[in-house]
């Protein structure tokens, strides 16, 4: 009995270790790449031991003045800021629109409810390439191309269906009687929504906020076609390190590491909600 227990523990640790090696190995490698000079980064066979340098980080943030000028003025901070604005706006708009829709789909019964829910989902079916060219023409005619609002609108396609479906699940999980109690206590549906339902799905909101933010942050095709010089995003910025005659792997890796930071910060703050909130089950009923 005891040994088998120990055996299972060891097995668990091994399993976790294997997964995290798989998940974090490449990250560590990217981090190492970001600290290598341009020579070490393409060394063959790859180098594990090297003299770390911060020149890549310096080059993409403030620019560098080595004898071989590799970047012009670094545009990376601009891309970073653009993406931050667009991704945040996307999440805020998605939350504003999606929370109500999710609540409504979870709580009320009305005609075409399931059809509407499915319609929301179906907006995610269309492959980007299918809609991107006509969408571009629409954007161009309405002046939405290369604007923050335009990209925010386009990103709704990625985030909104997801947000609605996940939040709907969370709303459905709130015991209905809690909301009924609040109605009886003298609150309108809106009061109940604000004071009871919304605070209770905070963990759900936290989870979709981080995931939607990631989806928006990482988008590629929409930002490539619908964006432009004013709104170029970080994904294209990172791909921009593929030059015509060389690939700046070190700077690309450094840019990738920096790119992850806002998401990590968000995840860190939001994790409190996720983990705490997810113990919600203990309070139910």
């Amino acid at each position: 009995m005891r040994t088998s227990h120990l055996f299972i523990r060891v097995l668990k640790i091994l399993g976790l270790g294997a997964y995290f090696t798989f998940a974090l190995g490449p990250i560590i490698w990217i981090a190492m790449m970001s600290l290598k000079n341009s020579n070490d980064v393409i060394a063959s066979p790859p180098k594990f031991v090297f003299t770390p340098t911060l020149e890549n980080y310096k080059a993409i943030t403030v620019g560098q003045h080595a004898q071989h000028v590799e970047t012009l003025r670094p545009d990376y901070p601009k891309y970073f800021l653009n993406t931050l604005i667009i991704a945040s706006a996307t999440v805020v708009v998605s939350l504003l629109l999606g929370t109500f829709a999710a609540y409504s789909l979870a709580r009320f019964s009305f005609r075409f409810k399931e059809d509407i829910a499915f319609t929301f989902l179906s907006f995610r079916f269309a492959p980007e390439l299918m809609v991107i060219l006509p969408l571009y023409i629409v954007f161009q005619k309405t002046g939405l191309n290369d604007s923050y609002s335009g990209l925010t609108a386009a990103y709704q396609l990625v985030t909104l269906p997801f947000l609605i479906w996940v939040l709907r699940g969370f709303f459905e999980d709130i015991p209905r009687e809690i909301e009924q109690a609040a109605r009886v206590d003298g609150y309108t549906w809106w009061g109940v929504f604000r004071k009871i339902s919304l605070p209770l799905v905070k963990p759900g909101v936290a989870a979709v906020v981080i995931l939607s933010f990631i989806f928006a942050w990482n988008n590629f095709i929409f930002s490539m076609i619908l964006g432009g010089e004013r709104t170029q995003t970080i994904t294209l910025g990172i791909l921009g390190f593929i030059g015509y005659e060389r690939v700046l792997w070190g700077q690309m890796a450094a840019a990738t590491m920096i790119c992850v930071i806002p998401e990590l910060i968000l995840a860190f703050f939001v994790q409190n909600y996720i983990v705490r909130g997810l113990t919600f089950g203990a309070v139910k009923g």
Binding site: P175, E177, I178, Q180, R183, V184, G186, Y187, G191, L200
Partner: protein
């Protein structure tokens, strides 16, 4: 302050008819108990009063005013839910203060505090005001739920099985407390339970609800002693009433209950005579039956065989087989029998009940 009238209320969930043609009158300041097994529609009835469930057809009048189109917040009801439905993200204080802070009420915050503290003190939950519901025991949660309902002196207080999740000791305790409290609060109370003893102990009047229909409404003694049908009789009493199938026959021009070759005389009356030849059930409450080793000198007895006997402190519960049925008998502790012993069950004639087999209608009740 408030009386409630149901007029032909129906409630359907899709094809399922949860409440069928409910007409009912609940008087002002009455402690009204709705008794029924689970799924009978008790909670639905309460929620229709509260306004969190809609009415499919019919009218509910509160103080003579139809309310079925009012939103919950427009009706002055408070409700204690079976699950308590406490707000998990709020402290006990905030839970209780919640109804007072409703936008329509506009009660100054210092009065809110006074009211909450007062109720908390009465219910004995003032030490936990800062805790969240998750950190409370079942009994404490129940009292918070009660406090939240009582804090604003509603016109109608609705309670949905508030004691069902408590253990036996706490349940009895809370029952007494509720009973004591109702005097001081003086509102109309509608109380839903599946526990007949709770119903009998608390209710001014009791309605027995079965599959969405009211079977009987009456005071505790009315429904207990004079149930209108077998269903009502069966649902009041624990252990439940014993039944024996038979027919009404005429024996020497007197109505008798006939089962097999046994004949048990029935009180004479035109009503029974009219039912001669009908299939009926004889009903006997366990506490009205005695067991005898020897054939008693009365016509009101039947032979039986002891199946099992449990000793429960001050009394015993015995199961005996009468013909092909098991009878439950409550008796004194000093009587101990052995398994398979041949015994006679016997009872006083005035404790007999008789129900029609097909409709369940009561032909004979206590005191007839």
């Amino acid at each position: 302050m408030a009386d409630i009238v149901f007029q032909h209320v129906r409630k359907c969930y899709g094809d399922h008819e949860a409440i069928r043609d409910l007409s009912l009158e609940i008087r002002d300041r009455e402690f009204f108990v709705i008794l029924g097994e689970s799924g009978a529609g008790k909670t639905t009835t309460l929620k229709m009063i509260a306004g969190v469930e809609s009415v499919t057809s019919g009218t509910i009048l509160l103080n003579g005013r139809p309310i079925e189109n009012l939103t919950p917040e427009e009706r002055d009801c408070a409700m204690v839910f079976e699950t308590y439905a406490l707000y998990p993200h709020m402290s006990v204080y905030e839970n209780i203060a919640f109804p007072l802070r409703a936008p329509g009420r506009r009660i100054p915050e210092n009065q809110v505090e006074q009211a909450v503290l007062r109720v908390a003190r009465i219910l004995g939950i003032d030490p936990f005001l800062d805790r969240r519901p998750a950190a409370l025991s079942g009994g404490q949660r129940q009292r918070v739920a009660l406090g939240r309902a009582l804090v604003r002196r509603p016109a109608v207080l609705l309670m949905d099985e508030p004691l069902s999740h408590l253990d036996a000791r706490l349940r009895n305790e809370m029952r007494t407390e509720i009973k004591a409290m109702r005097e001081s609060f003086g509102t109309t109370i509608v109380y839903v339970t599946h526990d007949y003893s709770e119903a009998l102990a608390l209710g001014d009047r009791i309605a027995i609800l079965h599959q969405g229909s009211i079977e009987q409404v009456g005071t505790p003694s009315q429904v207990f002693r004079r149930p209108v049908n077998r269903l009502v009789a069966e649902s009041l009493g624990d252990p439940p009433m014993n039944f024996l199938a038979g027919t009404i026959a005429l024996d020497q021009n007197r109505a008798v209950f006939a089962t097999g070759d046994m004949r048990i005389p029935l009180p004479d009356g035109p009503r029974l005579r009219r039912c001669v030849g009908k299939e009926v059930y004889l009903g006997l409450r366990p506490q009205h039956i005695r067991l005898e080793r020897h054939r008693p000198d009365t016509l009101f007895s039947l032979p039986s065989k002891l199946f099992v006997q449990e000793l429960l402190g001050d009394h015993t519960v015995a199961s005996v087989s009468v013909k092909d049925r098991l009878f439950t008998v409550l008796g004194k502790t000093d009587q101990a029998y052995s398994i398979d012993e041949h015994l006679y069950v016997t009872w006083a004639p005035e404790h007999m009940y008789l129900f029609l087999e097909n409709t369940g209608e009561t032909l004979l009740a206590e005191g007839d």
